[in-house]
């Protein structure tokens, strides 16, 4: 492994481990609902499974699969997913030191960069701890997410209607929980609400996938950043 495993675990305190497991559990529920919803919606089981390993970004996966399930084009699905994942670019710079310096840790670690791993890593300030947190959280989430998706796929194959279990409410709820803290900023909130209204209003008229992209028009309301108030880590806002 990247570090001696014993010192690795000792670096993480109980609180962090507990928080990481709670997020793993929540993401597992969402992963399972992703697998179940996509398969019962008519996609081949290989689609959610391949996507979860290769893309490993819940929001983009749901967005892309949602576009396809609603009858949109694959191109619109890819575009929606990529726009959503553009946020991973600044994330990568923020946690670069925790990912490590060797070429193979960079190649592997990059795939583990998500909202959750970045949020947890940012809580730590000491270098060794940042590393331990990044890798522990990233690996645990990768494992939980993909196992849960496979289980969800199996369940979805036998479930006649995932709606009976309210699974369709799980995804928007997780996104809402993730985005809530960033809405504390006034400019962001205005832009986000305007975008949401635009997207919902456009849904009856536009092909699936486009309304969400159209929401970006709300950005004009974002305004200027609050002077130079030491722009807090952008990633923390978005978590």
């Amino acid at each position: 492994m990247i570090l001696d495993m014993r010192s690795f675990w000792r670096t993480l305190d109980h609180g962090s481990l507990r928080d990481i497991s709670l997020v793993c559990l929540a993401d597992a529920i969402v992963g399972a609902s992703f697998g179940a919803i996509t398969v019962s919606g008519g996609l081949h089981p290989s689609v959610p499974i391949t996507m979860s390993v290769l893309v490993f970004a819940g929001g983009a996966q749901f967005a892309a699969a949602g576009v396809v399930l609603a009858g949109g084009s694959p191109a619109a699905a890819v575009l929606a997913g990529l726009v959503l994942n553009a946020r991973l670019l600044p994330y990568g710079f923020t946690v670069a030191d925790a990912v490590g310096g060797r070429w193979w840790t960079r190649l592997l670690g990059a795939q583990l960069i998500t909202d959750e791993t970045v949020a947890f890593t940012l809580r730590q300030h000491e270098r060794q701890r940042r590393r331990a947190t990044f890798w522990a959280c990233g690996l645990a989430l990768f494992l939980c997410w993909n196992v849960a998706v496979v289980l969800g796929v199996l369940a979805g194959a036998v479930m006649r209607n995932t709606g009976d279990f309210g699974l369709d409410a799980a995804f928007p709820t997780v996104l809402l929980a993730l985005v809530l803290p960033s809405l504390a900023d006034r400019g962001t909130r205005h832009a986000a609400l305007a975008g949401a209204v635009i997207a919902v209003a456009a849904t009856p008229f536009l092909p699936a996938g486009l309304p969400v992209l159209l929401a970006l028009a709300g950005l004009v309301l974002a305004g200027r950043p609050a002077a130079t108030v030491a722009d807090p880590d952008p990633v923390l806002e978005v978590r």
């Binding site: 983009a60 994942n85 670019l89 990059a110 409410a169 709820t173 997780v174 960033s182 969400v212 950043p225």
Partner: protein, 102 residues
């Protein structure tokens, strides 16, 4: 969804992720761009929440789903643990549907 589309999404996503760890010593992202990306993310996620909660295809999704999301949202604001938030939302929707709410 064709494999090619999944591959394209995966490749683009991986490129976004890898840029930081590879180029952090050679370049940095301007603050304005960082701010723009973080607001854009919030805008997209919020739009995704709204459309996923309220719409199905080109129409209204019914009341059960947004009601569940609302319950989850209130719990999230009150800082309930993540799993509780998600389960409460799904359970609310399930119970409403079971009682005949569309």
């Amino acid at each position: 969804m064709p494999l090619l589309a999944i591959a394209a999404l995966a490749a683009g996503t991986y490129a976004f992720r890898l840029a930081g760890p590879v180029f952090r010593h050679r370049m940095r992202i301007p603050d304005r761009v960082q701010r723009l990306l973080s607001v854009a993310t919030a805008v997209l996620l919020t739009a995704l929440v709204a459309t996923a909660a309220l719409t199905q295809g080109h129409g209204f999704a019914g009341w059960a789903r947004p009601a569940g999301v609302l319950v989850g949202g209130v719990l999230a604001v009150r800082r309930a643990p993540f799993p509780v938030v998600v389960i409460a939302a799904a359970a609310t929707t399930a119970v409403l549907r079971f009682s005949g709410v569309p």
